[in-house]
């Protein structure tokens, strides 16, 4: 009984456990996986996010350069953020606003000449790679060298070009044979 009276008085002067929401907002936690945001100027349309998405929420049209994101399909796992080589996808620590109809978010990807060059090279690489499953040189050692000089960040090039410079030993071997 004494404890009950104590509790009653305590609760009279205690702040409520809940927030008075519209007036008082909860500060977002850093790292919260909230609103999906794309930086269209950074994207290189590698479609890694499209392939990695477990819910098929992302659709990329390479020809029209449209990037489509379906917020109702998205499960907010953040796998696309992890897989993006350019870090151009972000899940911002904000809550998404409610929707009244099924709307998709769309972005148009802008490509700089530099990015276009990388893309065309990548496309060439993909075609070549599909044709020859064996690890063979796709560009000669000189071209490779010049490419490496042109790009300041060597690691980046290796990451973006992949199998161009995959197998140096094989390349040397084949050049010797020729």
């Amino acid at each position: 009984m004494v404890e009950m009276i104590k509790n009653v008085f305590k609760n009279l002067f205690k702040k409520p456990a809940t927030l008075r929401y519209p007036y008082e907002k909860r500060p977002p936690t850093p790292g919260y996986r909230g609103r999906f945001e794309l930086i269209p100027t950074e994207c290189i349309m590698c479609t890694m996010c499209e392939k990695s998405c477990p819910a098929d929420a992302i659709k990329i049209d390479k020809e029209t350069k449209r990037y489509e994101y379906d917020p109702l399909k998205c499960i907010g796992c953040g796998y696309c953020v992890e897989r993006c080589p350019k870090d151009c996808i972000e899940l911002k620590p904000e809550y998404t606003s409610p929707m009244t109809s099924h709307q998709k978010q769309e972005w148009t990807i802008t490509l700089t000449p530099h990015k276009e060059a990388v893309l065309s090279l990548k496309e060439y690489k993909d075609q070549e790679y599909a044709r020859r499953t064996k690890c063979t040189p796709l560009v000669s050692a000189e071209v490779q060298k010049s490419l490496l000089e042109r790009f300041s960040d060597r690691q980046k090039l290796i990451a973006s070009l992949g199998s161009f410079i995959r197998c140096p030993e094989d390349m040397i071997k084949e050049e010797d044979e020729e």
């Binding site: 456990a17 790292g31 919260y32 990695s52 477990p54 796992c77 953040g78 796998y79």
Partner: protein
């Protein structure tokens, strides 16, 4: 004058305010006494096992997490464990400890959830709200650790996706202190309250022999004097439990009260396990490299908040798996419900259902 023994059939569910998820019970009542019951599950079947064959094995981690909203982490741990066994990946110690910490936090939030719902089912609204208020401490910790309150997706094949920093560890420790302090008060209500005792003692009894027959798992089994806990008996790959010291909590009576007792004690046990795991944390990698595709078959068992969760996976050296089989604890516990309910008063039925902690999303998959 002989009393007329008319049997009336009362449907409870599939949608009913007292049920958190859809399960249909057809109760045959004689006056107030339940004489027969038929249970139907399958209202939230989503075909996840089939969907797991379509996705690539790394995406499946997220899919398996979405089998259940409450034991999400245990599903991903179990699935990753199965794939890691298949691919012979060595998970780093730090990743194992982070998995353990999140798993125990999940047990905390699941147990506080169902303890609250048990109180709610018997009309003890105040206790329900207080329990759920304190559950928020754990939910906030989840948001800090993983970036989401539900579906934390902290696991990936080979380790975990996010590291726990020093400041987060401090926050977890602080949260555990606060939760322990608050739960000490709540535990008194659950264990000593005369109202609570009256509604739970000797109700929904599942004897040890029957528990063996039905093969129940988790707190239901431990409440019926079966010391079964995968954390203690499972293989040594399972998170970091082989380093931690604890004993399974067992009660003898097999009624709702003993199940509640087991859960209340497990809340304190989880708090202790989290503190132990934090003590073991050392710097190191949080994920191992994954190369190639899974080939062969593997199983994994984990102790989810509701009991033993079992995963079977079969790979065929492509990125898609051939088969994923999930056996969830609620699926095993629900048949035992029939035995518990028959012979009880109608008013005790919701409490009995809440006491086995049924998770229908898990059950139906």
């Amino acid at each position: 004058m002989a009393a007329s023994t008319r049997v009336s059939v009362v449907p409870l569910g599939a949608q009913h305010p007292v049920l958190p998820e859809p399960v249909a019970l057809k109760l045959s009542l004689e006056e107030e006494k339940v004489v027969d019951v038929s249970i139907t599950v399958g209202y939230c079947h989503r075909g996840i096992e089939k969907a797991a064959e379509m996705n690539d094995f790394k995406q499946n981690v997220f899919l398996c997490g979405r089998v259940c909203g409450i034991c999400s982490h245990h599903h991903t741990t179990s699935y990753s464990d199965a794939i890691e066994t298949m691919m012979k990946i060595e998970v780093p110690e730090r990743a194992k400890l982070i998995r353990t910490i999140v798993a125990e936090l999940e047990r905390l939030h699941s147990h506080t959830l169902i303890l609250g719902l048990t109180a709610d089912a018997m009309g003890y609204e105040n206790l329900f709200m207080q329990t759920w208020r304190d559950r928020e401490i754990v939910m906030d910790l989840f948001e800090i650790i993983s970036g989401n309150r539900v579906h934390y997706d902290i696991n990936q094949i080979g380790g975990v996706r996010r590291d726990i920093g020093y400041d987060v560890v401090k926050k977890i420790e602080k949260g555990m202190d606060l939760l322990e302090e608050r739960f000490n008060i709540l535990a008194k209500s659950y264990l000593d309250d005369p109202t609570f005792k009256k509604r739970t003692k000797g109700v929904g009894v599942l004897s040890s022999a029957e528990a063996h027959t039905y093969g129940v798992v988790g707190p239901v089994a431990r409440g019926s004097d079966i010391p079964e806990d995968v954390r203690a008996s499972g293989d040594e790959n399972y998170a970091a439990y082989k380093d931690l010291h604890f004993t399974p909590q067992v009660e003898e009576d097999g009624d709702i009260y003993s199940r509640t007792k087991v859960r209340v004690r497990e809340v304190f046990q989880s708090i202790d396990l989290i503190r132990q795991a934090i003590g073991y944390l050392r710097d190191g990698p949080i994920a191992a490299r994954v190369q190639g595709n899974p080939n062969g078959e593997a199983i994994a068992r984990v102790e989810a908040p509701r009991g033993e969760l079992f995963y079977y996976a079969k790979g065929n050296n492509t990125k898609n798996l051939e088969r994923v089989k999930i056996r969830t604890p609620s699926f095993v516990n629900i048949p035992a419900l029939k035995y518990m309910i028959i012979g009880e008063e109608f008013s005790a039925v919701p409490v009995i259902i809440a006491s086995i902690d049924p998770c229908l999303s898990c059950t139906d998959r």
